[in-house]
Symmetry: C2
Subunit: 164 residues, 2 copies
């Protein structure tokens, strides 16, 4: 992706600031050791009449995939640590409005590890919580509280002092 010109990176950053979504969410993964996944995404939406725009962005960014939904909208989603990190590192210097989201996603990605300590994971989930307000999104059903409660009931976390 290093073949993108500065102007192309700046253009995409402007487009992300205007109409893209840099996000981190909690997803239930019963098969995972920690039962939850932190999913990081960079997404774009357009009416399917302008599907070509998403294909153009995909051609530049290379990662992720474009699909037509069945409601007249198309979606271009880049999901997961490595591709999201690569894209955000490119765009970071040029972002304005969503620079905070990019910084926090990059922070989450850098701190996420295999066999993560549950306490450190809950700390990252608290960072994920902040995306609700950052992205004007609707109230989330899974938050760091959900994760903390489940970890406590599974004895993955030390019992808080005040409840002993």
């Amino acid at each position: 992706m290093t073949r993108l010109t500065k102007e192309q990176k700046a253009y995409i950053a402007g487009f992300v600031d205007g109409d893209g979504c840099i996000n981190a969410q909690l997803v239930r993964r019963p098969e995972y050791t920690l039962h939850f996944q932190i999913r990081v995404t960079l997404t774009f939406f357009q009416k399917t009449t302008r599907h070509w725009m998403l294909l153009y962005l995909h051609k530049l960014l290379k990662h992720g995939s474009v699909r037509k939904r069945n409601d007249g909208m198309s979606e271009y989603a880049i999901v997961g640590k490595d591709p999201v990190k690569q894209c955000l590192q490119l765009l970071y210097p040029y972002l304005k409005l969503k620079k905070v989201q990019a910084r926090r996603v990059l922070q989450i990605i850098d701190q996420l590890q295999k066999d993560q300590d549950p306490q450190a994971f809950v700390k990252l989930c608290e960072v994920v919580d902040t995306f609700q307000d950052l992205n004007d999104s609707k109230r989330r059903t899974i938050t760091s509280d959900t994760v903390r409660s489940q970890f406590l009931s599974l004895h993955l976390l030390p019992v808080p002092v005040e409840t002993i």
Copy 2:
């Protein structure tokens, strides 16, 4: 405005493509010789919590004005031939999604004249009509048909052959 770097122009173009609005509309102006005005605009909207973003764009583009509306939204509007032309000429090479709108607005601006011939004005109004679909906007109340009808009733246009 020539002091903007290529990266800044590209960034703003990306932002316009994502969340800006390049528009041409018909406005009643009873005091004008032709009774209607073609208004060209470049506008940006943001929640007032991110008002600073519009101030940032205004600092770069210099033209137009930023205001807080009373519904929690802020608006940055650049209105009128000269400022809109200057801004769009800067952004044009970098626009993708809204390049058509920019080209048509520039075309309208170049063809608009003082003491315009009514027939030529109606032709320009037909170009204005195309912005309804280009911008996914709601059905317009004033179209080239409105203008044509009024011009006919005011004897500003030759009566169409098929109605003689």
